[in-house]
């Protein structure tokens, strides 16, 4: 459904060699309720030296995308697509071939270092193991390498620390140890899955600093998976925003934050309280809940929650493909992306009557049957009609379409 953009030999942003190229990946999990389409046609490129941030809320498919690259999730079924690593498809590669890439050329930093580190081996041994397996170093050399790496990520007294166990480290130090482990073989690509989410902000600042330093040090590419737009703003060169298993907007960090062309991205930015706001600005929530990944809404997956959706209209019937909307490589999957050129977070905040909307959290949670309630739907219609900015031309009565989310049978399921 999504047209994969042409594969680049070099990044349009930096001109550097493209290392990883994901093409139309569809993957998910079989459950008793049906097939969960966690990743539903995702394509992107990562070039050497750049930081690509994959942003989304829980259940958007961002972590599954990363898992698919390294084949780390045994229950994940890959339906179609390819993941080209330096031109070779990781999905058709032999397990031995993949093993040679994993850890050495592509390394991963996990969210929770306490579960990712082995509690019965010393930190130094775990770090050195990478070099022993991939580079054939002996025990002595591996230990020296581990100490060097611990030193590089800023762990004081690395020589002593290398002989300690993970439980003797604090949270921030464990996360550094994981980074040390990931960069031991100087990988070309580092995948960081929510690397600082479990940390306090002052420790997060330390770890992010380390990430930036080592990026320059080893000249690798980084895929940063996070829900924190602040971290994205500080670290990334390009951003891919995901919603319900799809990439819905991609572009440079500047484009995504300042020239937003997708209502969901705009919604995320408008719902976020900012430290540098005076504090009296209204927050504009995205009404409703993310859709079921088993039975996605018809048309655009975001249309039931979208402030700009035209219902009835093509938002409800046609699934918008990711397409070039501005600049050299700024893409968005929205039929009306161009109209967002005149809408900013500020204009959205002034246009929406937030108090009228506090009664709007009536949409259904994922994987649940709809709650039938005509009276409530009417209330919502009134509230929405008064609450919405002029950009939408949705009429009042048409709102009864709204709670129907998730009823439509999944046409994609038949493909499997």
């Amino acid at each position: 459904m999504v047209d994969a953009p042409a594969t680049y030999a070099a990044s349009p942003l930096t001109g550097n060699e493209v290392l990883l190229s994901m093409r139309g990946l569809r993957a998910g999990f079989a459950t008793d309720d049906g097939f969960v389409r966690a990743v539903d046609g995702v394509s992107f490129d990562v070039a050497r030296g750049e930081v690509l941030a994959i942003v989304g809320e829980s259940g958007s498919g961002k972590s599954v995308t990363a898992m698919a690259i390294l084949d780390l999730q045994p229950t994940l079924e890959i339906a179609e697509g390819e993941i080209l690593w330096k031109g070779r498809d990781l999905l058709t590669m032999s397990e031995n071939g993949r093993r040679a890439v994993r850890g050495k050329e592509i390394a991963m930093i996990f969210q929770d270092p306490l579960t990712a580190l082995n509690p019965v081996h010393t930190v130094g041994r775990q770090i050195g193991e990478m070099a022993r397996i991939h580079e054939g170093l002996d025990r002595q050399e591996a230990r020296a390498r581990a100490i060097e790496m611990l030193d590089l990520v800023g762990i004081p007294e690395a020589r002593t620390r290398a002989d300690m166990y993970p439980h003797e480290f604090s949270g921030g130090m464990r996360q550094r140890a994981m980074i040390a482990m990931a960069i031991t073989c100087k990988p070309d690509l580092l995948i960081a899955d929510e690397p600082t989410t479990a940390l306090d902000v002052t420790v997060q600042a330390q770890v992010l600093e380390v990430l930036l330093d080592i990026k320059d040090e080893i000249d690798s590419a980084i895929i940063l998976i996070t829900h924190d737009l602040g971290v994205v703003a500080g670290l990334s060169d390009r951003v891919m925003v995901m919603y319900a298993g799809r990439a819905i907007e991609t572009g440079t960090t500047h484009e995504i934050f300042y020239e937003t062309r997708h209502p969901y991205t705009l919604g995320l930015l408008a719902s976020l309280p900012r430290l540098d706001d005076v504090g009296d600005e209204p927050l504009v929530p995205i009404v409703g809940s993310p859709p079921s990944l088993i039975r996605k809404p018809s048309g655009c997956s975001f249309h039931p929650r979208c402030r700009f959706a035209r219902v009835p209209g093509n938002c409800e019937t046609d699934d918008p493909a990711l397409r070039l909307v501005a600049g050299d490589d700024h893409q968005a999957a929205c039929h009306y992306a161009e109209e967002l050129a005149d809408v900013s977070v500020e204009s959205l905040r002034t246009a929406v009557d937030v108090t009228a909307e506090t009664a709007l959290d009536l949409a259904l949670p994922r994987d649940r049957e709809p709650i039938e309630d005509a009276a409530v739907v009417e209330d919502v219609a009134v509230a929405e009609a008064t609450a919405h900015p002029g950009v939408t031309d949705r009429a009042e009565g048409q709102i009864d379409q709204w709670p129907a989310t998730g009823q439509r049978p999944d046409d994609g399921e038949a493909n499997r």
Binding site: E57, S58, S170, G171, G172, D200, V201, T202, V203, Q204, A205, Q206, L208, E209, H227, D228, L229, G230, V231, V232, A233, G234, T253, H254, F257, Y258, G267, L268, S271, L272, P273, R274, L275, D276, D277, V278, G279, E281, P282, L283, P285, I286, V287, S289, P290, V354, T355, E357, T358, A359, L360, D361, L362, L364, P365, R366, R368, I371, D373, V376
Partner: protein, 355 residues
């Protein structure tokens, strides 16, 4: 521990009585060890906290994990007994109340917990959960209870039809609204909100924050908003208190705390929070703290922040005498020379704008 308990933390001013006043609250949790599980030491989770909350206002209580902010919240409601100190609610010492009197008082202060998945009983319908306080405290009959529940659900943006559903049928944001409805059931004056939006995605979080603000306007509630996310706290609070290792290190009105902080910890904390604004974010200077928070079982002498303090390090390098940081506990008070008009617990308090 005794030196901490008796340390003269600044006395609250004696004008019109606030809704809630906590004075020198201390909570030590015993560490048990050895064959006979004897007490081998104490973790001082809260070490002399004084604060006030006025009617209808929001006090933001912020700090990193382990700073004692949640323990403080529970002490304020007498959910756990304090080791020392006193809590006055509407002038009455609730920390010394027991039994029926306390139970009656409790109608007036409620709590909303962080995890909406754990704080609702999965075996009880929403209606049963909400009816419990109404039956226990007010003795209402079934019809009155049902009417009240329908009201409550509408108030928090849910539908009365949701009454017969179980918690698992709701999304995280909706569950948190049920938690809020439960807290509202007895028409309280004060609600302690312990990280009420931390477990929610940002798009959902905004709706719950807006709801809390609307309820405050409509019902005149006072909030103690406990959170680690300083952006949300700036949005919702009238006044803010910053905690570090069991103590309040700085407190004041929202604007000066964010725009003109005086404590080096507050400054580091604010500067560490990433802004969703690439241009500002990439040019911003950050104060990076070294090391980790010390164990509350064995806090540093003098100023508890000194082991990680960037200002102390700067002063040391400049040859200034910082022995006071080691020897003397800095009191939470207004310091004329600091350029800050609100209380700061630092011998070398100095205003630095970091946001």
């Amino acid at each position: 521990m005794s030196d901490v308990a008796t340390a003269p933390v600044d006395a609250p001013p004696d004008d019109a009585a606030p809704l809630l006043r906590a004075t020198d609250l201390v909570k030590d949790f015993p560490i048990r060890g050895g064959v006979f599980s004897r007490t081998v030491g104490y973790v001082s989770a809260v070490a002399g906290v004084s604060l006030e909350v006025d009617e209808g206002e929001t006090l933001g209580l912020v700090g990193e994990s382990g700073c004692g902010k949640s323990t403080t919240g529970r002490l304020l409601l007498n959910l756990i007994p304090p080791t020392a100190g006193e809590v006055l609610f509407d002038g009455q010492p609730i920390s010394r109340m027991r039994g029926k009197r306390l139970s009656r008082m409790r109608q007036r202060f409620q709590i909303v917990f962080q995890d909406p998945y754990a704080s609702l009983n999965p075996r009880m319908t929403v209606g049963a959960t909400l009816s419990e306080p109404l039956k226990v405290h007010l003795g209402l009959d079934q019809q009155a209870v049902d009417e009240r529940i329908a009201d409550l659900l509408r108030t928090v943006g849910l539908s009365p039809e949701h009454m017969n559903r179980y918690p698992h049928e709701f999304s995280g944001g909706q569950r948190q609204r049920i938690g809020i409805a439960r807290a509202l059931a007895l028409d309280p004056d004060l609600i302690v909100l312990d990280e009420p939006v931390s477990a929610l995605d940002v798009s959902i979080q905004a709706g719950v924050v807006n709801l809390l603000q609307r309820l405050q306007d409509e019902l005149g509630l006072a909030y103690v908003f406990i959170a680690h996310d300083l952006s949300v706290v700036r949005h919702i609070s009238d006044r803010v208190a910053v905690m570090y290792l069991g103590k309040i290190v700085e407190r004041g009105d929202r604007k000066p705390i964010y725009e003109n902080p005086g404590h080096p910890y507050t400054q580091a904390l604010l500067s560490a929070i990433p802004l969703p604004d690439p241009e500002r974010e990439k040019t911003r200077t950050r104060i990076i703290l070294t090391g980790d928070v010390p164990s509350p079982a064995n806090p540093p002498s003098g100023c508890r922040f000194r082991t990680r303090c960037w200002r102390k390090r700067e002063l040391d390098e400049a040859g200034t005498d910082t022995s006071a940081c080691v020897e003397q506990e800095p009191l939470l008070q207004i310091r004329q020379s600091s350029g800050v008009d609100h209380p700061v617990a630092c011998h070398f308090a100095k205003a630095v704008a970091v946001v």
